[in-house]
Each structure stands twice: as C-alpha cells, then as structure tokens.
Symmetry: C3
Subunit: 140 residues, 3 copies
C-alpha cells in the first residue's frame, strides 16, 4: 500500500474561474506508483470547489451564470456572514452546492474516468493564493 500527497497552488486573475486540473491529477497518480486505488482531489478553502464535468467553455459560462442567477447571487448585503467584513458569503454557498472534493478511481495505474469526464478546480472567490490537495491511496 502507498500514499502520495501533492498540493496545487492557484491565484486566479478573475474572482470566479474554472480550471481543468486533470493533467495535474494524472501526473500525481503516475508519480505515486499506485495501480489500484483512489485519488482524492479536494479544495483546501471554503469558497472553492473541485468537481468532475465537461471540458467545454460554453458549459463553464453556463455554470458561472447559474451560480449567480439561481444558486446564490453575489449581492453582499443579502448575507449575515458579510457583516464580519467579508463579501463572499455567496462563494461559500456555491462551494456547498457543487462540493469541494471528488474521489477518482485508479485502475491499472490510470484515472478510471468516463470518456468526457475531466477534473476541475472552481474558484468562487479568487485573486489570492489558494490550494488544492491531491492525495493518492492504494496498491502499488
């Protein structure tokens, strides 16, 4: 059995941004030597998400629009959390909706994803340094 840990750092230019991190996850699975197991990919912040979906820019646009219009509008004055001096309560609710982590199965040394599945970092309150943990666990 082996465990392997790696941290990815982000500092996005825009406040909200969706970034494909599948290649980085693939690279860490290879580095781990694990043949059968799981890789956890998890945002280390409470205003960000990690999710699996489609590498298609129209969809990324739809996701950001849907987060703003349906899930949780940014409007800082709506939220009690923002009385602490923050303005990012909406980012927390977006993180809760999409989730902050995924587990991807590893089979025969490779990410066992479906044909269209890719792993994404969803930044909901960026323009500052933030982190994702990649942790591989399994049989070498």
């Amino acid at each position: 059995m082996a465990a392997h840990t790696h941290y990815l750092w982000f500092e996005t230019k825009r406040r909200q941004e969706i970034i494909d991190i599948t290649d980085e996850v693939t690279q860490q699975v290879r580095a781990s030597g694990v043949k059968e197991g799981f890789v956890l990919v998890s945002a280390m912040h409470i205003s960000a998400s990690v999710f699996v979906n489609d590498h298609e820019s129209g969809l990324w646009h739809d996701i950001l629009k849907w987060l703003e219009e349906t899930v949780a509008p940014w409007e800082p004055e709506r939220y009690q959390h923002n009385e602490t001096g923050e303005d990012n309560a909406a980012a927390h609710l977006r993180s809760l909706t999409i989730g902050h982590e995924v587990i991807v199965p590893i089979t025969a040394g490779k990410l066992d994803l479906g044909p269209w599945q890719r792993v994404f970092y969803g930044e909901w309150d960026g323009q500052r340094r933030k982190r994702v943990i990649i942790k591989v666990l399994g049989e070498v």
Copy 2:
C-alpha cells in the same frame, strides 16, 4: 489489502430516471472479500448522478420535479453549452448539484448504511448506454 472493480451498464427507457442499485453494490462488496474499507460508486458520465437517499417513489417524483423547477430547467435555449448541438446543459447542472459519486463505508464485510439509506443511479440524460463504476478498497 484488496481492490475490486466492477462496471454497471444502464440504458434507461425514459430520459430522466432514478434506479436503486444498492443490491448491485452489496453484491460487489461481497465479491471483493473486503471486510473493512470503502466502496466508491461513481457515474462515469457528466449528465448523471449517484446518490444515497430513500427508496420511496413519491420522493423520486419530488426529486425530478425539483430538478426541473428549481435546480435547472431543461429549456435548451437557456444555455450556451447547447450551441454545440447538445440540448442537455441542464443535465450537467443537475449532476453538479446532486453529485456524481458516493463513498459507502464497509464494516464487518457489509455496507455500513443507516436504516433508510439506499444507493441510487440518477439518469438525467438517458435513452443511451451509460456506465457506473463500483470500486472497493480495503482489508480482506
């Protein structure tokens, strides 16, 4: 330590459908011989979900209605993703909301679920062949 992998195939009659797959997961845990560990049950598609909830048909009706009326209406013209020729952007947003995977604990060789918990496949864009991976990892 042991790992065991199995794929379930689906081709639903309706475009949206909720299917109880607890018995299939139970069977694969038994086949794995794992006594203490985790089983990952994960949709291999970006327009489907795997979730844990209640085996009650009224609730399944409520979930489908809520996905359409509250979470993400199907209306293809609302979404930029559908300019690619697809009409299923709403299915992606539904998958992001409910999630595409669960991890169920295995204790003493059995799924360690609460009294009402069952594992479901949620098809949000069906009528074609799609897949779920069941991956067991743990001590035999």
Copy 3:
C-alpha cells in the same frame, strides 16, 4: 494498513441545526493510529448532511435561510413524499444538495484541512436520535 470505525450520536433541540464535529473527527483519527490515509465522515440518515465549511455563526444563519428560501422550502404540501405521512421531503432535497458525506485527507497523522476548513453535521430534520459514521482507512 488499518481501519477504525466510530459512530457519533445526535439529538438536536431544534429541527434544523449545524454542529461543528471537527474535534470528534480529529480524536478518532488519533485513536486510529493512521498516519497517511482518508477519513470518511458520513451521515447515516437521508435528511441530514456532513460538509466542510466555515466556523462562523453568521454563515450558519445564511445556510439555513438559503436552504429554506432558495434550495427547498419546507412547505409540506409541495411534496408527494409527504403523502406517506412524513412532512420532511424538503430535508431530503437539502441533503441531496449539500451532500451527506465528506472525505478528509490524513497527512502525518493529522487532518489535512485548509486554514478555515472545519467539518460540520447539518441536521435538517432533528429532535430525534441520529447518527454519523467516522471511518478511518490508511497506513499506520
């Protein structure tokens, strides 16, 4: 490799309540002796959540308000599930939105969480005895 299992019991005074359980999870990771691995924290009920977010009471207020006003209003007459005699269909939809489980990485014997991340139990239909499973898996 080691596995360690512990159950937490809750009986909340209010019907909806958010409870920080990070200390209990930390304690079970220590008890397990696991140095590198994963801890699964999972509600054993279909009307509750486990999630990672911020220890800030204003945000907890925002989450409960958002669940009622945006995600799924309680209004029992809206839902077919409640024709079974229940009134808690909304609690099921809230559990599906936020999720019922998290996996936290363990590195060098400790929960590998970001600076503001804490683990919470979200009770969406309380005032009765309910349970969370904490299951640790990894290398000792």
